[in-house]
Symmetry: C2
Subunit: 412 residues, 2 copies
Amino acid sequence: MTNEIVIRKDRLWDSIQALGEIGEVDGAMMRVTGSDADRRARDRVVGWFEAADMDVAVDAVGNIVARRVGRVDAPPVVTGSHIDTVPAGGKFDGTVGVLGPLEIVRAWNAANVETDRPLHVVVFTEEEGTRFGTGLLGSLVATERLQADKALALEDEDGVTLAEALRSIGYDGTAELGLADAAAFIEMHVEQGPILDRSDTAVGIVETVAGITHHRVTFEGEADHAGNTPMAMRRDAYVGAAEFALELERTARRHAETSNTVGTVGKSKVTPNGTNVIPGRVELGVDIRDTDDEHLHETVSSAREHARAIASKRELSHQWQSLLEVTPTELSPDISNRLVEAVQNCGHTYRRMLSGAGHDAMNVAAVAPAGMLFVPSRDGISHSPEEYTSPEDVYMGTRVLEAALRELTRSG
Amino acid sequence: MTNEIVIRKDRLWDSIQALGEIGEVDGAMMRVTGSDADRRARDRVVGWFEAADMDVAVDAVGNIVARRVGRVDAPPVVTGSHIDTVPAGGKFDGTVGVLGPLEIVRAWNAANVETDRPLHVVVFTEEEGTRFGTGLLGSLVATERLQADKALALEDEDGVTLAEALRSIGYDGTAELGLADAAAFIEMHVEQGPILDRSDTAVGIVETVAGITHHRVTFEGEADHAGNTPMAMRRDAYVGAAEFALELERTARRHAETSNTVGTVGKSKVTPNGTNVIPGRVELGVDIRDTDDEHLHETVSSAREHARAIASKRELSHQWQSLLEVTPTELSPDISNRLVEAVQNCGHTYRRMLSGAGHDAMNVAAVAPAGMLFVPSRDGISHSPEEYTSPEDVYMGTRVLEAALRELTRSG
């Protein structure tokens, strides 16, 4: 007999807090793949899954899968996220997408819920790319977008390979996650942006993960004396870079009217960087994203053209190096619709939205119907000890996820 | 009997090269006040002056004065500059204003020139402010704008005082330079800017030393995720700073049409400075100069107003800290006219100009009629091993200086 399913807000919050004590220093999380904190966090999560009667297995790159059996031998429904962090990160990024599902399994167990399809909860390795330089690493391998051998050979700054790091914490397994066979995949994650928080919305249903491009843009002029070089004789790299940043902002704002374009100069290095010297060289780190591939290319082209024109007008030389290009990922409309039904059944507020950040769900979307659920990030802050999602918000997100997983685990 | 006066280009150049070997490492000069290189350079210069029959004395802060007697007991004509360098500097900055006069004395001696007034050549201590943090230090003390006791108590980074540093190299004296009694003062110096070089002009006659102001301007917004924060929800400190830099450039260019305004953002520090993070804070080092005090204040006020308006429009907070304010210095029109006559007599090209950089002559101008003569800096480069003035250019400058000093040392 199935009793009422009760997602316990306090138990869920306590699990988040308990996991948040592992790798925490002065409020900041530091759980890097293969570290002792990573081992302890994995052991804790595995212990919880096993205590919830789940079968736990580990694949070659340390991805963990906890399996709850179904009544029929049908493709599983999969959910999950990651528990590694950036340096000085927060305790919600990734974690809510692992411990929300844990709470769902606990609630199902308490209510004697039996599903048709199995439910799998995955914990992906090295999502942040903090130690081995490649983000979304576990899901890249699990979806066969990257060979396990290549991933295992990646080295950290000290020359330690991923293979060695995983062996040292006992998380080098042989299982297969079988994501290509999944009936559905949903990742719950903190938004890492201000939209839900500012609009007081409970959950976001992600329809698209934006394409991401990174560029290094360099302007070079002449480092002359700030006092003795008249305005008309200057080749000032700083004002060239400044003009470029404002043009990028203008272009992104204009494109944002019809798309989801964002353009950012996040990084800047000025040489020689003395108050009384005209900057001879400025190197910018530029981030341009869009959910629409065509718009993304238009914005990048337009930014390149601006850089060229500004350099030419100001007699600067310039360089444009593209460092990263990830195309936009459409998530499954079917899963999005299921999530909308779920949130409506729960009576919470929601909005359909995009993710500007990359997530493991992007990789899974290449092999199975995948969706994402966002919960609010207070003030939009993430990758920081200030990162916060309230107990109520984690609870509401988990309720919606539970409702969606319950429907999806019904066969036929 | 007076023979023909011959400035010997080769001897002058050889002296510059010989002094340039002291404190030189891989082409870069490093002659810091009180260092062993400073002692050896001083000893060399003093040796040359003494060999030219001059009387050498040293004052409390290590300023050197070499005196050539005159026929009458009248106020002396003084010339000179400095021989200390910035770290990794060049071998012309300061040096040409000491060794040019040495060559003049040598030429006068060879031609048996007797002047009415005495000629004094001074070598000022710590012009660059490299070790004790205060530029123009020697001339500040020699013109009683700074008390010797206070200067001597200044400490370097290791807590060594100027007094100790001078004692250690044997240049702590008791003489008085008596600059307030000088009939005239002329400093020859490299331009440190591109104007003479680009216009193929032999010498510049400096009429005004620009006022200099330095400011630290900080814009503060919010360091949000570059992917998840829509353009309309940003408080991006970088684009605020960029807009400020372009407004400063625009204002300076406009004022430069009627004055000699220059405005520079030379320094920039972005926080957190990650490609995928919207800059939460940008700190700028701003340099604004003008030969006209009113214009200078107008430009600074206008820049402050722009900073305020940009911050307000972009919902940023901002701070404006003024770190340095030196008012413009008018040099003596009489000396400038004497220099114009001298250059015309020599048949060289010249232009009247300003100095955007501070020089010891600024301090001397407060107590005596002072002028300055610029020789070209190749490509406008200074404070660098690339700093260069050709033998021909040093020669022409020295000829002009000689002609002017010869006239000025005539009494009556």
